[in-house]
Symmetry: C2
Amino acid sequence: MQFELTKEFINNLISALESEDNGYIVEAINPLHPADIAEILEIVDLPQAQYLYQLLDEELASEVLVEIEEDTREQFLESFSAEEIAESIEKMDADDATDVIQDLPEDVQEEVLEALKDEEHSSDISMLMNYDEDSAGGIMDVDFVSADWNWTVKIALQKLREQVENVDQVYTIYVVDSFNKFKGILSLKRFLYTSDETLIKDIYKKDSISVLANEDSESVALKMEKYDLVVVPVVDENNKLLGRITIDDALDVIKEEAEKDYQMASGISEKVESSDSLFVISRARLPWLLIGLIGGILGAYVIGFFEYQLKENAVMATFIPLILAMGGNVGVQSSAIIVQSLANNTLNYESIFKKLFKELLVALFNGFICASIALIFCWITRSDFYLALTIGVSLVAVFTYAGLFGTFVPLILNKYKIDPALATGPFITTTNDIIGLLIYFLIGMALYF
Amino acid sequence: MQFELTKEFINNLISALESEDNGYIVEAINPLHPADIAEILEIVDLPQAQYLYQLLDEELASEVLVEIEEDTREQFLESFSAEEIAESIEKMDADDATDVIQDLPEDVQEEVLEALKDEEHSSDISMLMNYDEDSAGGIMDVDFVSADWNWTVKIALQKLREQVENVDQVYTIYVVDSFNKFKGILSLKRFLYTSDETLIKDIYKKDSISVLANEDSESVALKMEKYDLVVVPVVDENNKLLGRITIDDALDVIKEEAEKDYQMASGISEKVESSDSLFVISRARLPWLLIGLIGGILGAYVIGFFEYQLKENAVMATFIPLILAMGGNVGVQSSAIIVQSLANNTLNYESIFKKLFKELLVALFNGFICASIALIFCWITRSDFYLALTIGVSLVAVFTYAGLFGTFVPLILNKYKIDPALATGPFITTTNDIIGLLIYFLIGMALYF
C-alpha cells in the first residue's frame, strides 16, 4: 500500500464533509492507515475532524486517536464525553492509553479512568500514570511475553500461546525467575529450534541489557540507539520485570529532543506552529524577542556612554555590526557544539578545562584570520591605522570571549541539571552583543578615541 | 549487563596500552559490547586504538569496526592493509560492509573488494555500492527471510530454517511470487499458528507498505516513523524484492538529518568536533564566520553613507544593536519554523502565500508589541519623540521584512531542491543585518535626521 495524501483527495473529502456525504467519507477513509487518517484530521478544520472521527468504527477510532499529535489531541477531544473517550481507550495498549489520558485536563482524566470497563486495563494505566512522562516507565508498554526459567521449552510454548494474544509484535522472550525477577532474554529463533524438554534456564542469554523504570527516557533512547536494540526490558530497583520499550517510542524521544534543541537555538519555546491561532504562535516566539529587546536596550546604554566620543569619530559606529555579528556567530557555534556533544553523550571523558582550552585555541585561530582580513580592509579603505588596529584587536578579543562564554555556559547549566540548550540562540547572542560592545568601545578608548 | 564507561576504566586501560599489557587489555575489553569498544577506540589516541583493535578476535573486530563513527573510521583504517580490512569485512552484513568500504579512499575500495574471499558477499557489496548513500538502496540489508506464495506452511518452515541462518533477527516473512515480486508480508505469529497444509497465499497480508530502492532515505525514515514500522521491504521499479531496512538504520538517518539542520542553523559545516586537529575544527566553522565578516564589512559601508548624519546625531548609533538583534532573531525564528515543517513534511497542504500571510501577521503583531516597548522606553529616557518614533517604525518594518524573508528563502530553496537549512543561521542573520541597517537609516533620514 503506497498511499499518497494528495490535495485532490483532501479537497474531495472536505466537500464530502461539508455536504455530510457519509457514504463517500467512510469509503474513502476506511482503507487508510490510522497514521494517515490522523494526518487528515490535523489538516481539516476541527469541527470537520470531529465529525469525521465519529464515523470511524471503534477499533479504527482508537488507533487513530493514538496517532494524533499531542498538541492537537487535547483540543480535539474537548467535544467528546468521558464515556466516549473511555470507549476508545479501552482498545488501546496501556502505554498509548496513558499518553492519551495524560493529555486531558485533570478532572476529565479521573472520569475517563472510572468509565473504563476493563479493570485490569484501568489499573495498568493508573500504574503507568505514576511514572514521570520523561522516564522509562512513562514510555514503556506493559504487554510482553515472558517465560519462567524453570519451564521446559514445551511448557513455555503452551504458556506463550496464551500470552501472545495481547501482544502486538513479539520480538523476544523475557526470561524471569519464580519471583518475576528479570534474568535475561531468549530469542525466538533459539526458542523455536530447541528440543521440547530443554529447560529455558539452559538456553537463555544472560547479561542482557535492561533499563530502570525511573531512568530518563532520553538516556534509554540513546542506549537503544547505541546498542541497536529494537526492544529493551524495563525493571524496577529490585530487578522485577515491569514492561518493555520498543524502538518506535525511543525514536519519538530522540526526535523530540533534537527538535527541542533546534527550537531553543532558534528562539521558539513550544511546538505550536500547527496551531492557526495568531496569539498562540506569537506567544511561543515573543519571550525570546523580548530577551533580544532588553539586550538591544542595554546595548543602547553601553554605546550611550561613548556618545561624546562617537560624535568626534562616527566611523567607530560603522563597525558596530561587524563586532556584533562576529561575537554572535562565534558564541552560537561554540554553544551548539557543546549542546550537541552533551546530547550525544560524547563529552564524558574530556574535562571542562581541556574543552575550554581547545575552544580558546580555535577562537584565537579563527579570530586571528578574521581580524587580519578586517584590519587590512579597514586600513586600505579608511587609511587609518589606529582605527584598523582597534577593529583587529577588538575582533580577537570578542572571538576569545565569545568562544569561551559559549562553551562555558552550557557546560555549567548541564552541571546543575538545567537544559544546556537554554544557553543557545537568543540568550547567547544577546549576552554577547552587550559584552562585545563593551570590549569594542573600551579598546577604542585605549587605542583610538 | 549494565556497563558504564568510567574514567577509572579508561585510565587503567590507557596505562595497560602504554605498557602493552595485552593480558589485562584483552580481559577488560572482551566482555564488552562492540558499541562500547568502539566508543573506547574513539576516546584513546589513534595509535593506541589501532593497537587495541589488533588484539580483538576477528569476529569481535568486525563488529567493532561497524560501530566506529564514520568520521573517525577512515583515519582509523589508514594503518591497515587492504587484506586486513577485507578480513574484517568478510564477517559483516553486506550493508554494514558497504558502509565501511564507502568510507575508504577509492583505490583502497577496489583492493578490499578484490581481497574478499566470499564471492557472493563481494557481489552483494558491489550491488549495494551502486546505490546512492542517501537512498533506500544505500541503507538496505540484503539478508531477509522470504517465502513463495505457492508454498505450504510446512514447506515454508523447512525452507525458512535454511534462510534464517544468515539473518540476524527475523521480524517478519516477506511473501513473493515465483518471479520474486513482492506480494506482502506474513507475521511470524500467524505463520507459527497455522496448520501445515495451508498455502502461504491464503494467509499473508496484502497491501503491505514497501519502499523503492531509489527513494530518498530520509523519506523512508519518515515513513517508518509515521507508520511505526520496525522493518520495511525494499523493491525495485518492477516490484522485485531486493532487501529490507530496519528501524535502527532509519533512526540513524533521522538523527543525522536533525543534527545537520542544527549545525547549519549554528554555522558549523561538518561534524568534525571529535577531531583533535585545530585546523580541522577551525575549517568547519570558518566559512560561516567569513559570511559574517563580509556582512559586517557591508554593514560598515551602509552606515558609512550616513556618517555625516551620525556626527550630528550620534544617538542614532546607540540603537544599531537593537535593530540588528531584533531583525536577526525574527529571521531565525521564521526560517527555523519553515525548515522544521519541511523536515517533518507538514507543509504540503498550505500554499506558500498562506504561509507568508500567516508569518506577516505574526511579524506585525510581535513587531507592534516590541516597537511599542522600545518607543516608550526611548521617549522616556531620551525625551525625543522623533527619535522614539524612528525606532518604533524601524522595528515594525524590520520585523515585517525579516519575518517574510526568513519564511520565503527556505521555501524557495526547497522548491529548487536545495537544502532549506542553508538559509538558516549565519546566512539569514547576515542578510538581515544589512537590510535592517538600510531600513533603519532610511527611516531615520525620513523622520529624524
